[in-house]
Structures are given as structure tokens and as C-alpha cells.
Symmetry: C2
Subunit: 417 residues, 2 copies
């Protein structure tokens, strides 16, 4: 009996997970590596940050996902070096450094926030990319309110109850909307010994929100945000960030202790370990088969991979792209093992959506049909509920959404460490 | 109009919470101080530690509890000094140091683990007194398993999958039982690339478990633990603790990386700030009115307070004692304000109970009726569900218990930071 080829997948995000699923119970050995022992349903991170959901409701243990696939092994660890010549990866694990060999490698470590050269901003910024980020933001918001309600200096109170969200993409909109609702519909009632009115400001460098959407939807998103109560500042970049204030390009000073940075991402630093010339945003150039250019047995999928569509535009950093590329990479490895020709990437684009708050959303269905408001919001809810991993999580999130909707409650208002 | 008297309650555990509830909407001003922004339902901490429940399900935001009581103000902070002469308390808050005056003070800061003079044990011990402790233990257990499954040294694997619980009280039993079930009914199926058999050892210094229970129930508890698979070692104290092993009094060496310390508690260090002679375990001596001896406008309730019953035995450190003393302290303050005579403490004892795992428990109902096994377990479940704060939490815990019971699932298996 010959040894089964070993496929190593680095990253259990949407790309890595869909690759692993495709390889489940196939005649290969799969090693799935992640820094965490769970897959994160990132589209709902902002709901953890705003006290609506529990962390475990959007995190699914990787081992549980693959408990019925005997050929998939999970390893908790962080890649520190890729030794392509020796076909092995060096990892930092809870048990120390270890080396693991591969026959095929699929890199799916995603992206990380970028400050576009202003790395000093990071010190005063909160991010929203991981479950720990979400818990940090939740703790921070609640702590600001606890301070504000006991503070006698009204100028200081203003800064404590002002939040600036940078970035007019879906995450920025969702976060700004949810924070506004948390502040003004939930927290003010509990911190009632004092009139606290929170200010939420969304700042975007470009002259419009939601760059990939058509003009009417961009406009609808802005209107919906403003009807909720969020201030929207467009065409104005962040120029300076301090502990007490954010200063915009035109000189506007916004006193605040809370800056949420969701302005942009670049490829995860694992890309640099591959020793190939990288593309814009530090992304790994791949062929249409998802194999890395000049590295035939190495594949890259999702946010970390750079591939242009037929119009010369890079595929966007979106979950469906990652999922479909993950499946394709796995398929093409199996094809090669079976002597079949590889397939090339064709993106099945079902559209894009962003929610803004209670009964507010925009959807650009199949990039043809625009939806907005209540209907778009229901579409957003259903899609996210259906794509959440695990029946228990789906049930539990559904229950909490219904509960929160009718009671205006946000149940997870606890400051954990 | 005269100024309303200000009653300061330190600690939002069971004693402080019940005192505050009694004072809600009375003609007094109440300041409720806690280091955390939530009340913890401590009897279920072990279920958070063993991945069965989410932290937020047993934590209830203090502000939410009292949102309808306009006379109760909540302050997030830690007491650093009690200045009885000036009638004020110094606090460390998120906004810095602050002083708050009081007319009456109720101290309800509970207890903290004690190592009976062997403070060196603490370095290698995990505790189970706070929500953060529970999350730490959960992370630790999962990390040990992640290591064990990839470790080739079988001696090391043994230590990684052995857990020692010290203390034969209810917490020790519940923790040992729940960890055994988590290890051997859930985790082994997921870490299946290797046969992992976990060993759970419960160590108690005394020659029996559950000291306050009658002999037949002590015996039943031991039998139920052993029928589950837990090893029970009695009459053997812990002599030494290291990173890799626990050594018992008789020289037995148990190789392990996981020691859960639930052997005993002493009064919270806030007791020492009062400048009165303390009783055994650092507890504050109180009169039968719950007023601190020689400090007429200071009350102490719950674990931190020392009061003897008619037989000269100190009241045990139990939740119902804390609750009833909290109510009494509040009543007696109101009585004094209204010129009525104070009442004295009469403990309404409905009995004690401890659960051991699936369908296993012992109950000593009204200290007269012994229950064990399935019936005792159902009694335990119902009581804990009914006394949990908040309708949403009750529903959600009930749902998870039913789910976990039928699926043998433990849904919250995520390693958070």
C-alpha cells in the first residue's frame, strides 16, 4: 500500500474550511492548521462586539466540524516558517515548535487590518477581525459607559460616549449601526442616573459609502444610517489619532476614546513566508487553478490570494470567493492525483449585502437587483442564519435575534477581563 | 426635604444582591459597588469551565437587575480602603481613584480560596471562583488535550490527560464529575487520531466527602463518583505541587498539569480593611442583627461574616445564608431609620445538595430527607434553573441542558485567548 499524499491546509477560515470539507473522506491525509481551535463566522463579529451574541454562537470548534472525517487531522498552531525546499512547515504549537511535512500545501490565512502606512494609529484603534477583538471592543464600550455615568466633567463625558468608526465598507456600516443601537436604545436606559446621549460617527475617505455598490444603494445606505442617528462623514480621511481624539484631513477634531478601525485589510503575513514576489496588498499571485505561480504544489485561496477576473480586476476579498477557491484548490489537487486536468476559477457571484441596524440593509442581488430597507434586512437575516455553522448555533442565534428584536435587549453585556 | 440616607453595599454576590433588592424603591439612596459589572451565578461556574454553558448565561448585568429601581446606583470599582472615621470608602474605578461617603455600609464581598498556608500551591493551581477562572480552566483543559493528541511521549500524555481536583465539597464533586464527562464522553471522540483516556482524581484530606452530609449520603456520593469513573482518594492531603505532578501526604505521586483547587475558602481581604478583630478564616464577627460588632452602622453578610448559631457553630458559607443575611441587614437598616427594633437572624435551612454528573446527585432535603441518584439530580436541576436570574438565561440554560443531555455535546469548546 502506498502512502497517502498529505495535504496541509493552513487556516480554518472560509477558504480553508471549504477546502478541507471537499477533501473529507477522500483518499488523502489532511492536516488542518489554525491558530485557534475554532472557525469564526466573521460576518457576525460586530454582534458579539455590541453585546447581542455570545462568542461561542459564532465560533465552531474545528474538530467538531470534522469529527466524522477520519482523514482530517487538526493541529492548533501558528506557522512560523515555510520550508518549500524540504516541503515542510515549522509551527509554534502549545506543545512547542514542531515541523510537519506536506505533499500539497493550501494557504488560506486570510487578511489582517492595514493602516495604510500610519501604523501609529493602531495603538489607539480597536479592530474587529477576531473573536478576541470583538470581546475587547465590547469590554471597552461598556467600560466607557461605566466611566461616563460617574464623571462630572461634561467635556470628558462627551469623549467617553463618542465612537468613531473608520471605513465605509459593510463592516464599518454594520458596526456603526449596531453600536448606535446599543448605546442609544439599550445602555442609556441602564445608565440612567445621568442623561447620556451617545454620538456615533462613521468616517470614510472616499466620497461615498460601499464602493462596490451602485450609486442608488450607496445613497440608500447613507440615508438609512443617518435616519438611525449615525453621523456620516465622507471624503475625509483620518489624519491623526490620539488617546482623546481623532483628527480628520480637513482639521475636524472629534473628541473620543473609541476608534474602530475597519478601513482596509492586507494579506496575512504568512504570504511573505512563501518567497514569491507578492501582488498589491501583499497578496500571493495565483493561477486560475488557484495554484501559486511557480509553485505547482502550493495553493493559495481567499483574501490572501491575488487573481484577476476577465476584466483584469482582482477578485474581491469576500467570503464566497474564499469558499469557492477553497473548493477548487481541493478539487484540483484531487484531479492531479487522479491524472485529471485542473479546472479554472469561475466566480459564482450571488451579490453583496450589508446591514445597518434594525430593519435597515442594502442588498445588491446577483449584482442586478437592488433591495433596501426591511426586505433587504430580512434577506440579510435569513442568509446569515442559514450559513451559520451548526444547528445548535443557528437555533440559538435565531432565538436571540427574536428576543433582542422584541425586547430591545442586548443580553451579553458583561465585561470579561 | 432632608437628604435620604445613603446605604453603600460592597459586593454584588448573593448577599449584596438580596440586600439591594430589599432596598429597591425604598426612601434611601443605595450605592451598589462591585469589581465586575455582573452578578455571577456561582453554582454553575463548573459548567462554564467544562464547556457546557456560555459565560453570559450565568452572569447577569447588575444594572439590568436594578433598571427599575431609581434609588439604586451601580458603581464598577474595587474597594481599597474603608475610612470609618470619615464614613467613606476609597475605590479604584475605571475612571481612577474615587471616594464615596456612606451613612450605612453593608459588606458582602464573600470569600476567596485558601491554601491553608501553602501559598506556593497557588502557582500551579486553577481555581473556580469567578467567571474568568472558569474560562481559564476551560482554555487549560482544551489546550492540554490539543497537546496530548500530538505528543509522542506516552508518559507526558498521561500527565496532560490527568486532572486532580482537590476538595471533597460540592464544588469539588461537581467539577470532578463534569470534567470526567467532558473528557471521556466528548473530547475523546474529537481527538480520535489517538486513544486518549483521561484520568480524573478527586483528593480529600478528610476521611469522607461532603463533611456536612449524613454518612449514607457521603457514601452515596463516593459511590456515584466512582461509578462514573472518577478516582476518589480520601484521608490524604496534598503535600506538594509542581508543574508536572501533585504529591500526596502518603507519598503518592500523580503526574498532572491540571490541579483544580477547591479545598477551602477564607474571607475576602476586604474584611481586614474594617479594623476590627477578625474571627476564624478572617471573617468579620457580626451580631445576630448582622451588624458588625462595635460598628453599629456597618453590616456584614454572607461568607465574609462570622455568626454562631444556637449550638455555637458558625453558620456555613452557603448561598442561602448570604441571601437571608443580606435581606436582614437591609431590613434592619430600614427598621432603624423608622425607629423600629432590629430583628435577629434565623436561618431557614432547606437543606443542601451536590450534583456529580449525568443523573447523579445527593440531596439532604431540610436536613432530614436524603435523596440520591436520578431523583436528586432532577431536584438539583430544577432548583438551579429556577434560581438563575433572568428569564432569558433560564430559557437558554434549559435549552442547552436538554441539548447536552441528549447529544452528549458540549457546545462551548472554544479556547479564548
Amino acid at each position: 500500500m502506498t502512502k497517502r499524499p498529505r495535504i496541509m491546509i493552513v487556516g480554518a477560515g472560509f477558504g480553508g474550511l471549504f477546502a478541507a470539507r471537499t477533501l473529507a473522506n477522500q483518499p488523502v491525509e489532511v492536516l488542518l492548521i489554525d491558530r485557534r481551535n475554532y472557525h469564526t463566522f466573521t460576518p457576525l463579529l460586530y454582534q458579539v462586539a455590541t453585546c447581542a451574541l455570545d462568542p461561542s454562537e459564532i465560533a465552531y470548534p474545528v474538530r467538531d466540524i470534522f469529527r466524522k472525517a477520519a482523514n482530517i487531522h487538526c493541529l492548533l498552531g501558528e506557522v512560523v516558517q515555510i520550508d518549500h525546499a524540504a516541503q515542510q512547515v515549522h509551527l509554534q504549537t502549545p506543545g512547542g515548535l514542531r515541523e510537519e511535512p506536506y505533499d500539497y500545501l493550501i494557504i488560506a490565512t486570510g487578511s489582517t487590518p492595514t493602516y495604510f502606512g500610519n501604523d501609529a494609529f493602531r495603538e489607539f484603534s480597536l479592530e474587529l477581525r477576531t473573536l478576541n477583538d470583538a470581546i475587547d471592543l465590547r469590554n471597552h464600550i461598556l467600560r466607557q459607559f461605566e466611566q461616563a455615568v460617574w464623571c462630572e466633567d461634561e467635556t470628558a463625558v462627551k469623549a467617553m460616549t463618542t465612537i468613531v468608526v473608520v471605513g465605509g465598507g459593510p463592516t464599518g456600516l454594520e458596526t456603526a449601526g449596531a453600536i448606535y443601537e446599543l448605546y442609544n436604545h439599550v445602555l442609556t436606559h441602564e445608565y440612567c442616573q445621568k442623561e447620556l446621549q451617545a454620538r456615533v460617527v462613521l468616517v470614510e475617505m472616499l466620497p461615498h459609502l460601499l464602493a462596490p455598490y451602485p450609486e442608488p444603494l450607496r445613497h440608500a445606505a447613507k440615508e438609512q444610517l443617518e435616519s438611525l442617528g449615525v453621523e456620516v462623514i465622507l471624503g475625509n480621511p483620518v489624519a491623526e489619532v490620539g488617546e482623546d481624539a481623532v483628527i480628520l484631513g480637513d482639521g475636524t477634531i472629534i473628541p473620543t476614546h473609541t476608534l474602530v478601525w475597519s478601513a482596509g485589510v492586507r494579506a496575512s503575513p504568512v504570504a511573505e513566508m512563501l518567497d514569491v514576489p507578492l501582488q498589491r496588498g501583499g497578496r500571493i499571485p495565483i493561477e486560475s487553478t488557484t495554484a501559486v505561480t511557480h509553485r505547482p504544489n502550493v495553493y493559495a485561496v481567499g483574501d490572501i490570494a491575488y487573481l484577476e477576473d476577465e476584466n483584469g480586476q482582482p477578485y474581491p476579498m469576500l467570503i464566497p470567493v474564499a469558499q469557492q477557491q477553497g473548493v477548487l484548490a481541493a478539487h484540483n489537487i484531487l484531479a492531479e492525483l487522479n491524472g485529471r486536468a485542473p479546472q479554472t476559477f469561475r466566480y459564482h457571484d450571488r451579490g453583496i449585502m450589508a446591514t445597518i441596524g434594525r430593519r435597515r440593509a442594502v442588498v445588491w442581488l446577483y449584482n442586478r437587483v437592488p433591495l433596501r430597507g426591511y426586505l433587504a434586512w430580512l434577506a440579510w437575516l435569513s442568509l446569515h442564519l442559514l450559513t451559520l455553522l451548526g444547528f445548535r448555533n443557528r437555533l440559538s442565534v435565531f432565538f436571540k435575534w427574536v428576543w433582542n428584536y422584541f425586547t430591545y435587549d442586548r443580553s451579553v453585556r458583561i465585561i470579561l477581563r
